[in-house]
């Protein structure tokens, strides 16, 4: 049994030789190293002491961290759901357009994504400053009398997250809506289904792989992000990403940072596992 398994594995590895070498070097080894140091101890002045310890994981059980994780989940979930709700109709709209119009609309969607992210975040900050354009506009419209503080609020963080991840949600959903055969929708209508019923019974289930890809592509990075939360949130509220960054940076508690990273990794793996369970492998092309 064992030898048989080895036999079938070798040619595959040989086939994927250069790719797997590359993967091992740049993905697997660093990842294993992270896992490895998450089980080590912290040096008094930072750095790693190579003594096995589960202290980092014990620290994670601390309610403080648990709250951070909860908060990060909350924000990631809100971001994901918002991206789906905003993205699905948009993806649907694009998919129903002729191909040239569709690719132009996708371009529009991608342009902000191609600009430097620091620049984009700074632009948001400028727009929402106490005496920035948004406040000025609201005051001139008499909607508010005093400038509102947007900067460093959860709302602005969410806005930044949603706008940042929207393209990642739209693209896979667009791909699966575009693949949907028009004649299936016609068949449904032909059999007596109102458009709303057709949407629920045919469109939604058949575009589910795209929706799930969108969830993975927004939820996982939203959970781990730190630039957006750092800049727009001003570090006032802590998220997993920021803590990891801090542990490897200022705080210099590498094992704890590594343990948090491992935690993120596990969540990601779990989601991808669920995904592959729910959708067939050939639907995964959008991922």
């Amino acid at each position: 049994m064992k030898s048989k398994k080895k036999k079938s594995r070798l040619p595959f590895l040989a086939q994927a030789g250069p790719v797997s070498a590359w993967m091992i070097l740049f993905v697997t080894i660093p990842m294993l190293f992270i896992i490895f140091i998450s089980f080590m101890s912290r040096g008094t002045f930072g750095g790693i002491i190579y003594e096995p310890s589960i202290k980092p994981y014990e620290t994670l059980m601390d309610p403080v961290y648990f709250k951070v994780i909860l908060k990060s989940f909350e924000v990631a979930i809100i971001t994901t759901v918002s991206c789906l709700i905003l993205g699905y109709p948009f993806a649907y709209y694009i998919a129903k357009k002729p191909p040239e119009t569709a690719s132009r609309l996708i371009m529009l969607l991608m342009i902000p994504f191609w600009t430097n992210s620091l620049m984009r975040l700074n632009a948001w900050m400028l727009l929402f400053q106490t005496n920035g354009p948004v406040n000025n506009l609201l005051i001139s419209l008499n909607l508010i009398s005093e400038p509102v503080t947007f900067i460093y609020t959860d709302g602005l963080v969410l806005l930044g997250l949603i706008t940042n991840f929207l393209p990642f949600a739209v693209l896979p959903m667009y791909a699966s809506i575009e693949k949907l055969q028009k004649s299936l929708l016609e068949a449904s209508a032909d059999l007596g289904a109102k458009p709303s019923v057709t949407f629920r019974k045919v469109t939604l289930p058949l575009t589910f792989p795209g929706i799930f890809s969108a969830v993975i592509l927004t939820f996982i990075p939203a959970l781990g992000t730190y630039t957006i939360t750092d800049m727009l949130g001003g570090g006032k509220v802590l998220y997993i990403g920021n803590i990891i960054k801090n542990q490897f940076g200022a705080t210099r508690n590498w094992p704890l940072g590594a343990a948090l990273a491992v935690l993120l990794l596990l969540i990601t793996a779990l989601l991808i596992f669920i995904y592959t369970r729910f959708s067939k492998l050939d639907d995964m092309e959008v991922l």
Partner: protein, 366 residues
């Protein structure tokens, strides 16, 4: 009931500048098997889709069971469609596909089960309930598509080239089954195909279409034996078509002058000097050794082709065109290279007006 079950009156359809259906008038009778037959792009699918409600007619009236439906959405119309590509829902089992129409109407579960079982038995697919469409062959998918469309008990079933994707043998078998099903259920079938043989075998009436116009609407036999224009004569079955001018008309006898000589046919309403065509089926064409005053088209025997039950003889006209005639036995009087003259008995050839007249006639016809 003598009222038509489906009625199209002065229906026009444009796609941009493309005039796809032109002033169409069509009455479909209760319980009949009506086929729309015509070459690719002549507007068959468009006509069907207008009846189903997937396309809006630019002008005209469409009635189903005496009720105007132009303003109705597809889900409000009492017709069901069998699509060419089957269009089964890939995420549902065979059972759920067939049950779809009833599930939507919120029919009680027990009743749905009973009806689905009945439908699957009708299309001989009992036992496939749990399969997904992916795991069915083309013919099986087609049966499920038919069962799914029939479960709603439509009075009219629209079928757009339902057998187009099947191989010849399966297609022949399904043709017979579909016809049997239609007779058994007494449902009106509006069937689209560009396969004239299929149309001939299955239909009660055939509407031959070209460029958005119905040229002739008749029983298969009428269409075969009495095509009303050159296009229909040519499109349905094999035919030898001679183009010429009516030189002399005595009663019904018309002596036609063609570029290659004279040919005589019989028909009413032809005037001397009129441009016209004569259509002769290969089985009715014959040859003579000597020319006569009435028949003087000279040909050379080029080839004999054995086609199983019949032998087809190919003749060459002086202008290079080919004439075919078929016999059950080899004609002992002729051999390859012989010079002969075309001949056809009275009543075996069809006199046809030149195309422009024939088309405007078809337009006037209801």
């Amino acid at each position: 009931m003598s009222d038509p079950i489906v009625l199209l009156k002065n229906v026009e359809k444009w796609y941009g500048k493309n005039h796809v259906v032109k002033n169409m008038n069509l009455e479909i009778k209760h319980g009949e098997f009506l086929t729309l037959l015509g070459p690719s792009g002549c507007g068959k699918t468009t006509t069907l889709r207008m009846i189903a409600g997937f396309e809006d007619a630019n002008e005209g009236i469409i009635e189903v069971q005496g009720e105007r439906v132009e303003e109705k959405e597809p889900y409000q119309r009492d017709v069901n469609t069998v699509f060419q590509n089957y269009s089964l829902f890939p995420h549902m089992t065979v059972y759920d596909n067939v049950a779809y129409g009833l599930t939507i109407k919120k029919v009680p579960k027990d009743e749905i089960k009973e009806r689905v079982t009945e439908m699957l038995a009708l299309v001989q697919m009992t036992g496939y309930e749990r399969r997904k469409p992916d795991a069915l062959s083309g013919g099986q998918k087609q049966r499920i598509a038919i069962a799914r469309a029939l479960i709603n008990n439509p009075r009219v079933l629209l079928l757009d080239e339902p057998l187009g994707a099947l191989d010849l043998k399966l297609r022949k078998q399904m043709q017979i089954e579909l016809k049997r099903l239609q007779k058994k259920l007494g449902i009106t079938f509006v069937y689209v195909t560009h396969d004239q043989e299929e149309a001939m075998t299955m239909s009660d009436r055939i509407a031959v279409m070209k460029d958005g116009v119905i040229l002739q609407l008749d029983s298969p036999m009428e269409i075969y034996n009495r095509p009303n224009c050159r296009f229909v004569a040519d499109f349905i079955g094999e035919s030898n078509i001679l183009d010429g001018v009516a030189e002399s008309v005595e009663g019904t006898k018309i002596r036609v002058k063609t570029d290659n000589g004279y040919f005589t046919t019989y028909g009413e309403g032809f005037a001397p000097g009129e441009r016209m065509h004569v259509s002769v089926r290969p089985e009715f064409m014959s040859v003579m050794k000597e020319k006569t005053e009435d028949f003087s088209i000279k040909c050379v025997i080029k080839d004999f082709i054995y086609m199983g039950t019949v032998i087809k003889t190919l003749l060459g006209l002086p202008d290079g065109r080919e004439i075919k005639y078929t016999r059950f036995d080899l004609d002992p009087n002729v051999k390859e290279g012989d010079t002969v003259y075309l001949y056809c008995e009275k009543g075996r050839s069809v006199a046809i007006h030149a195309d422009s007249t024939a088309e405007s006639e078809a337009d006037d016809e209801k």
